[in-house]
């Protein structure tokens, strides 16, 4: 069985700036993998390449064995990627429920004619979408807020809603960009349990995070990026004790 995600030799240049150099990565089914690294290391750039927002200067991205390098973001989304964003990008003037329903867009078949004429096919699909939205909102403890405008929700709930929206597409790979950003201890703890629950349900998750405690406790494998290069890879213990990683984060020890 092929890896859910395989990144081979990806290099990304923005003009003269080399954001990523020769990145190799693979994610297997059912794993929770983390990407860490100092700010500017290229983590979000990697996400953007994998989800099709940028086309890599060199290299290849494969999803479930299929080469998706340089594909349009919406086509990649339809093939089973779903993501959250570093700065929350919810649809502000829409309700929580509607946000989740849009998350399913890539997997719905209804077209314009169906919409205009209220065909039975449209009504059936709408019912199914509503049902799935209900499942997900309840899973993320947002059911009571389903008709609230996202702009009116507190920060923690907005983050959860973004994840809910990503789940709506039943993704093969869920990409979370700094899901714990701006959260306090308790919220981070809840998020941790939530991510673990998602893995137990069967989702494969790739996440970027700065919160070390979170990453070490939830990820099975970790990649460390620094200045666009892959610095280390391994399980939490290995990575934590890797001298190069320590140096990157804490600076070189004075001799």
């Amino acid at each position: 069985m092929s890896s859910v995600l395989r990144v081979t030799g990806v290099t990304q240049k923005f003009g003269g700036l080399k954001a990523l150099s020769d990145i190799h990565m693979h994610i297997e089914h059912g794993e929770i993998v983390g990407i860490i690294g100092p700010n500017g290391a290229g983590k979000t750039t990697l996400f953007n390449i994998v989800t099709g927002i940028y086309t890599p200067t060199e290299g290849q991205i494969e999803l479930d064995g299929e080469d998706i390098t340089g594909m349009n973001p919406h086509l990649i989304a339809r093939r089973g990627f779903a993501r959250t964003f570093q700065n929350i990008r919810l649809f502000a003037k829409l309700s929580a429920m509607d946000n989740v329903i849009i998350g399913m867009h890539g997997h719905t078949k209804v077209n314009l004619i169906d919409a205009i004429f209220h065909t039975p096919r449209k009504r059936k699909e709408e019912m199914e979408c509503n049902k799935r939205a209900e499942e997900i909102l309840k899973l993320m403890s947002l059911w009571d807020d389903r008709y609230a405008l996202t702009a009116s929700l507190p920060y923690g709930k907005q983050r959860r809603l973004e994840i809910a929206r990503a789940l709506a597409a039943n993704p093969k790979l869920l990409l979370l960009d700094e899901p714990a950003a701006g959260m306090n201890e308790q919220e981070t703890e809840e998020l941790l349990h939530m991510v673990q629950k998602l893995r137990d349900i069967g989702y494969t998750i790739l996440l970027i995070e700065h919160d070390m405690k979170f990453v070490m406790n939830v990820c099975e494998r970790i990649y460390v990026l620094n200045y666009g290069e892959l610095l280390a890879e391994g399980n939490p213990v290995t990575v934590r004790n890797n001298p190069k990683v320590i140096e990157a984060y804490l600076g070189k020890e004075d001799d």
Binding site: F14, T44, N48, I53, F85, Q86
Partner: protein, 292 residues
Amino acid sequence: MLLEQIINGLTIGSTYALIAIGFSMVFGVLELVNFANGSVYMLGGYITLMVYLGLDGHFFLSFIISIIATGIVGFCLDRFGLRRLRIKKAPKLTGLITTMGIATVIDNVILLFFGSQTKPYPNMIDFGKFKVGNTAISSSQLIILAVALLLMLLLSLVTYKTKFGKAMRCTAQNADAAKLMGINVNLTISLTFVIASMLAAVAGTMVGMYYQSIDINMGFTVGMKTMASAVLGGVGILPGAMAGGLLVGLFETLGASYISSGYRDAIAFAILILVILIKPTGLFGRKKINKV
């Protein structure tokens, strides 16, 4: 003959450039498409005429009064109109529609005051024609070109070398950060409107003198053309507006005399569409990197 047409084109183009610069500056600090710019241009021309007729002479004084008056109009437009909308955090579209409404108000006030007939305009800078080689160039053209050039240089100086110019550029890039740095953003924006209005008034008076007439349709047509000029040069960018205005003036004049005059007013837009299709950010525009 061709050279004369080029001079014609550059002359009118330099007035477009002045108006386009003002439009571009306002867009730069506010990301607002100011539909009232054309009306203010026309207003400037009319006020000069009105004061001149009222004072029975003293053209230069009338000119100065008009510039000050239009500056005040521009200030009020922002201070009492658009600033309110900013405070209310209104969507950008609302500001745009408001400027449309203000344009209608200004146009109709002028209509009510002056009537719809074309009015004759005194040409105070007519000192005859000069011959440079085989080409004839009038004094009006020379003076307009000189004034426009001077103003463009002055503006570049202000924008890039003064504290106010820096405040403008900072506000254009990130108004919130500018506020935190102690820049009085609201005042900067209002002053930008004042400058834009004054530039428009200068252009309005000069064009009136050049064609020796003024009519109430000037505002709308030129407003649209200078909007196109600013955008094709790269909206929000000073040299872009200058280049855009000059290009439009040039091609309009050449096109009208060599191709067809019926499509004259469309030439500005045709150039715009062509440029945008090739370089979507305009001639001098830089691609904004979308941080995800």
